[in-house]
Homo-oligomer: 437 residues x 2
């Protein structure tokens, strides 16, 4: 007897299949480009009509995505639409939409649910749906599957469903969509098999797990591990600082141990769309079982307090010099959430800026990746990036090194800044005008 | 002008120097053998007269130290004494004594202090003292240096002092005393230079840090990192278990991420002389600064609860089968604290055994590395290792897999045990008689 998934798998293997990608952001765009690169026709879906137009014109809004590559993909058949009825045209629907937290730190699945609700009326046999958005264990089983079957299709028979978490790391030069192994869990064995056929043409290594919820938990564990390890070194930084020890020196020394230790570095707090947010998806789900996720809560508490810690170091250092934050000219270096990217999401630099502003500091920033302060939902600064020169640096009472972009001229900064609050361990040897924060 | 440390360094470089090692245990013995191997005369010191006699006769009490190697070292001049006045004979004094916790979970430096007090009357110019015992930042400055100078010698001028933490990992086949990089901090620059000369003949890579307290903190950070990461996966295990997810499968899948994730595995609790103990040295010292080390406290709490968690799984599984722990025949597999070693220190298996015994279980154990249950300060079991055969296994109502020695025949155990409580993720596929714990 012919396997139910045979038609779909054959189309994926032959390259005839059309790949639909829902949500054309940090995850969807590189994935679309990768499928295009290996010869598939790709149809992107996005609710943002302006972004749809831009992408079809070959313009990406993401710094590390090359417009030339996008233009080439468009020439090869990539197109983007805001018409979700076209879901009927594609063989695969890969959901790459955001999964943020609401203001009560609870999962906000509205983008996922909304996307699924838009496509459900147009689903048909011989399709596969893959959710890539980070979410709590049970989301696929509890939220996706019931919606798919509400249209009358049987999952594992007519249509197939997998969960396969995205592992994008913008700015990581060592790994790409192609070379980062992809974890996948199927709702049924036939779903898993179809999922393999979906990702095999685009991704070098595929790692199967036994269920969608195991795959959902995998992504959370990765980011929980990171949030907790950063929380730990942030706590250790505070302790070491009080003891007169440089935590960066200690971490580097510990990292020479060839087993049992992996270095994580402290900083001004967590940023980005994953690490500060994802762990709380598990915290929320665990409550249903009467369980507490105490490591997640503790790292959240410590990491969220780091901008205030850095601000405290700034304020203390100014005070020692007989100055107040109020009225001082303060330059924040690096406002993207991490090194060498333009991504401002959840950036702790912005928290520090808010603290300085609310205390009356005269604020400026410099970030080669962020020429003007972007529109953000909760923050508003009418600023553009100050260019760094010996003269411009000398105008400030203090410089807060928040994000350690490679493009900064650290020596020039060292020579010309009156006071540097260093939250990134750049200036290890210290000096009278360096305050480790 | 001749450097103050020149005489000492010359003797270390030429190989004429005599290396004194205080505390001939898990750390002192391999280090003594290593110095002997590279041609130094080594004089070991230990307060245990029986151990002194055994070592001089070429018998090590440590399973992974080969008597033949020890006998060869003795033939080449290694000798061990309990006469601390002979400290005057050696050029270097390396302290490798235990640093446990007292029953209030406070640092117990008595072995360090006692050793130093014994040698101080015999110290002389042109010697170096290195403390290798794990301890809190400030120990060398606050406890060792004042005792050395109490004899009238000047540290950094007459005599030299460094802190260089041991990184022994018994049972690790990939790294030895020679190949594990050694971190070292000097009390003065001349001390650090002398410390380099001390370790360079024996250790391939030496890593300097700026102070003894930075070196002290380095060792603590390594073990805190490990304790916290194990605590985290133990908490995740409990959550995943309730959600019907196998945490071992999830960790293995997460470990396929080529950056940002390092796998740690859950288990029945922490054991050994380092991980359950060392972190609390920092906790204690941090109190002096009014600080809390909350990650350490949390991992301590979670890890210390794991034997009870495993016991709860045992008790629950027996209960489902209509049995009580009271009166049931229960076999604990693996009582050493970790895989493939004979080391019983702080072993969580013993905690599980205590819980079973106090509930009236009829207890047996099997451990190829521990033929009879050793004398322990706080535990007493009149037991010897049960040999594992299909017949012997069938006599037990339950088997608790606590330590996953390679020597166990897991297939045979699987086939013949009525019920297996698996705390090590050996039996991933489960089965009716497997309970993941």
């Amino acid at each position: 007897m012919k396997q139910k998934n045979a038609t779909l798998i054959a189309r994926l293997q032959s390259g005839e299949a059309i790949i639909g990608i829902v949500g054309m952001g940090y995850v969807g765009q590189p994935l679309a480009l990768r499928y295009s690169e290996v010869g598939f026709n790709v149809l992107g879906f996005d609710i943002d009509a302006e972004k749809v137009q831009q992408l079809n014109a070959g313009h990406s809004s993401i710094e590390h995505i090359d417009d030339a590559e996008l233009t080439k993909a468009v020439a090869n058949g990539l197109s983007v639409t805001d018409d979700f009825s076209r879901a009927a045209e594609v063989d695969a629907i890969i959901l790459c939409v955001p999964t943020p937290l609401n203001k009560y730190r609870e999962p906000d699945l509205s983008f996922v649910i909304d996307s699924v609700d838009r496509i459900v009326p147009f689903l048909r046999s011989n399709q596969i749906i893959s959710l890539e958005s980070t979410t709590y264990p049970g989301t696929t089983e509890e939220e996706i599957i019931p919606r798919i079957i509400s249209g009358g299709l049987q999952v594992g028979e007519d249509i197939f469903a997998v969960y396969s978490p995205e592992r994008e790391d913008p700015g990581n030069a060592d790994f790409t969509t192609k070379t980062i192994p992809k974890v996948i869990g199927g709702h049924t064995p036939a779903c898993l098999e179809a999922g393999h056929a979906l990702y095999k043409p685009a991704i070098e290594h595929i790692v199967s797990v036994s269920s969608t919820k195991a795959a959902e938990m995998t992504k959370l564990l990765e980011n929980i591990h990171r949030a907790v390890n950063i929380g730990l070194v942030n706590e250790m930084k505070i302790v070491a600082d009080q003891m007169g020890i440089d935590i960066f020196e200690v971490i580097d020394a510990a990292a020479t141990k060839p087993f049992g230790f992996t270095p994580y570095y402290p900083g001004p707090g967590l940023g980005g769309h994953c690490i500060p947010i994802d762990p709380f998806y598990l915290t929320w789900k665990a409550r249903e079982y009467g369980l507490h996720t105490r490591f997640i809560e503790l790292s959240g508490e410590i990491n969220q307090n780091m901008p205030a810690y850095v601000y405290g170091k700034l304020s203390g250092a100014l005070n020692e010099r007989g100055k107040s934050v109020n009225g001082s000219h303060i330059l924040v270096l690096g406002i993207a959430y991490k090194k060498n990217v333009d991504d401002m999401r959840e950036s702790p630099s912005v928290q520090i800026m808010e603290l300085i502003k609310s205390s009356g500091g005269k604020l400026a920033y410099s970030d080669p990746h962020v020429p003007t302060f972007p529109k953000m939902r909760e923050h508003k600064f009418e600023l553009s990036s100050t260019s760094l020169t010996p003269e411009s640096l000398r105008q400030f009472d203090a410089v807060v090194l928040a994000t350690d972009h490679a493009a900064f001229d650290y020596e020039m900064i060292h020579e010309n800044a009156a006071l540097i609050i260093d939250s990134r361990g750049i200036y290890r040897d210290g000096g009278d005008h360096i305050v480790k924060a």
